[in-house]
Amino acid sequence: MDAWWMCEVPYPHVPKDVLDAADSVRASLPNRWCDPRVAAGLFDEVIDEYLLCDEMGLNIGATEHHAGINSLLGANPMLVSILARQTRKARILSLGTLISLRREPVRIAEEYATADVISRGRLELGFVKSGGTEMASANANPVNNIERYWEAIDLIGKALTHQDGAFSWEGKHFTHRHVNIWPRPWQERFRMWAATGDPHTAAEVGRRGMVHTLVLRGHEGTRRAYAAYRTARAEAGLAPVSTDNFAYSAFVSVGDTDEEGVRVGEKLLWFLNTSLKSAPQYAQLLPGTAPPHIAGQAWRTRPKPQSGGPNLVNAEKGVATAQENALKLMSTTVEQAMAQGIMFAGNPDSVYAQIKKFHDDVGGFGHLTIIGRTGFMTHAESEKNIRLLGKEVLPRLKAIAPMTPTLEQAA
């Protein structure tokens, strides 16, 4: 199993009373609450943490989110390029530029080609379906987002691999009559990842053989999503893939002791309890977010009672199908997070055991993408987390060999 460390460069320093008064901490919070001097310091720290990951043998990944306290990284290719130049060994996963929100996939291909050359071939391309507040931030129509997503992936893929001069693309959402990018990428072909989540998209991800990434999904959702991928491949007559085609994203906090790992890990829950708050028009009422028979229920002001735990679908985008779900998710405790398999926390032995157990529970996955720092976790705590991860946990993760389970085993 490979490990990829990520930090979204969150901005946790907006005063609490401002956040409490705002109906949304993403999309509409004015940037007067973002002090650029503080932000610059955060970028310094996080980039140093990425360099430490490189030193410790961890791979790294960069995300993209717009206009919110959850992340200052509105431009994924910029951080990817910085990491391309400043790191030496780590593979760099873009997970990723929000391609369905940008108007010109060809420009994205140019950015990736540039970063790949600067990194001397260490770039991996991950594509995130996106949703929620990002639609307002990008003025992107939410209803046909998934169509733009696949078409952009296809155009970017062709632009990065076509070496014979200009080609034309007149697609449904993107047209570009003269596509011919320089530099030629270092890599002849790129490993492509997808973070999408819903079963329908999981099937297409499977048919394309992309690395299927589940983010904070928990046991049941992850099992189902991996199964949808495998089933789609089998139904299409495609060869089964190993667990190297599966990735899982969770909070990870390693301390010298279980107590320390859990105590520091609790800080990561800021992601859920503070950074998700989205006004209804960007979240459960956003068009195209759910089928009408589900989306219609979100208009109720007094939702029908719900049983069970929070719905983790689209957790990272702050979307829930009902207000109750959102509230449950936001009030998740460390114990609940660990029980659900969205946080692995403790001393190195405990963290390894938790990851291994989750791995076995869901039928295996070859990549752990780590949400390693968020909220008020300090730079020192983050570096300690990285050092312990790299030194004590990573070697054991690497010993988990890929396997190719049968459909029955995986189910």
């Binding site: 129509n141 209803v143 209804p280 028009q281 956003l286 068009p287 028979h293 989306a295 219609g296 002001t301």
Partner: protein, 263 residues
């Protein structure tokens, strides 16, 4: 090809699109194009109009239970669909009435083929960009808090705004389906066609522009300016109504329209 069905039929087929439709009344044909949501079959506004006209009130593709083929996605498609529907009706000329989003549609259809129409009525119509580039004319219903949208949409929101908690699951499903369709057709440019303003001068037929005095989605000022682009158009306010006078003041609105039609 349009197949019209004898009353009280509730569906009409236009080419590959199967539309739910309210059809009632006798007399001249009046085609009503709805706004954000279709009117219910028993809506008072439709019933009042049907006392003096054959009212045809289809739900646009993707709204209500009207089908929407996968490649039917733009205002261009809607305009051509309704042109085809109009051509398939037996009448020499019909009366076209459009509200809100349907008002935008009606303006487009009138600009394209006013020779098929005898009268045009626009009610709180969308469709034009009149302000400067930093001044939006139309309330952004997708990026504004629903409480604000509610407040700005009705003269008396507490009594007139829909009560979602009282709606059936079926009604809520239709509501959500309408919402998706609105976003598909109207997200960008937001609820207007930058080209339409230039061609409103083609509309060569008696036109009435009616506006809720309390419309906070598109203001009465916007409405007055809209009317100014259509030669000879009259403008009138509907008191104690917001963006949806066909729901909030159906009697007053129907009075204005039936007067205008000469009844």
């Amino acid at each position: 090809m349009t197949e019209t069905l004898a009353p009280p039929a509730d569906r009409i087929r236009v080419r590959d699109v199967d539309l739910e439709v309210v059809r009632q009344g006798t007399g001249r044909t009046l085609l009503f194009l709805h706004g954000f949501h279709p009117l219910a079959p028993d809506a008072r506004f439709l019933e009042l109009l049907s006392r003096r006209a054959t009212v045809l009130a289809p739900s646009h593709p993707g709204f209500g239970t009207s089908s929407r083929p996968a490649d039917f996605e733009t205002l261009y498609d809607l305009v051509h669909l309704y042109r085809e529907l109009i051509d398939g009706l037996g009448d020499d000329k019909i009366t076209l009435v459009g509200a809100s989003f349907g008002g935008w549609l009606a303006a487009e259809i009138a600009a394209a083929c006013s020779h098929r129409l005898d009268r045009l009525v626009l009610i709180d119509a969308l469709g034009l960009k009149l302000g400067d580039r930093e001044t939006p004319d139309i309330l952004d219903i997708f990026n504004t808090h629903p409480d604000t949208v509610r407040r700005r949409s009705w003269h008396d929101p507490d009594h007139e705004a829909p009560d979602f908690d009282a709606m059936s699951d079926d009604a809520l499903t239709r509501h959500a389906r309408d919402w998706d369709a609105l976003s598909l057709y109207g997200w960008e440019p937001y609820m207007y066609n930058p080209r339409l303003k230039r061609w409103l001068g083609r509309i060569a037929l008696p036109t009435l522009v009616l506006w809720g005095a309390a419309d906070g989605v598109v203001t009465p000022d916007y409405g007055r300016r809209y009317a100014g682009f259509i030669p000879g158009a009259r403008f009138a306010l509907v008191d104690r109504a917001g963006h949806h006078p066909e729901r909030e003041r159906p009697d007053a609105l129907a009075d204005h329209i039936l007067d205008f039609l000469g009844h």
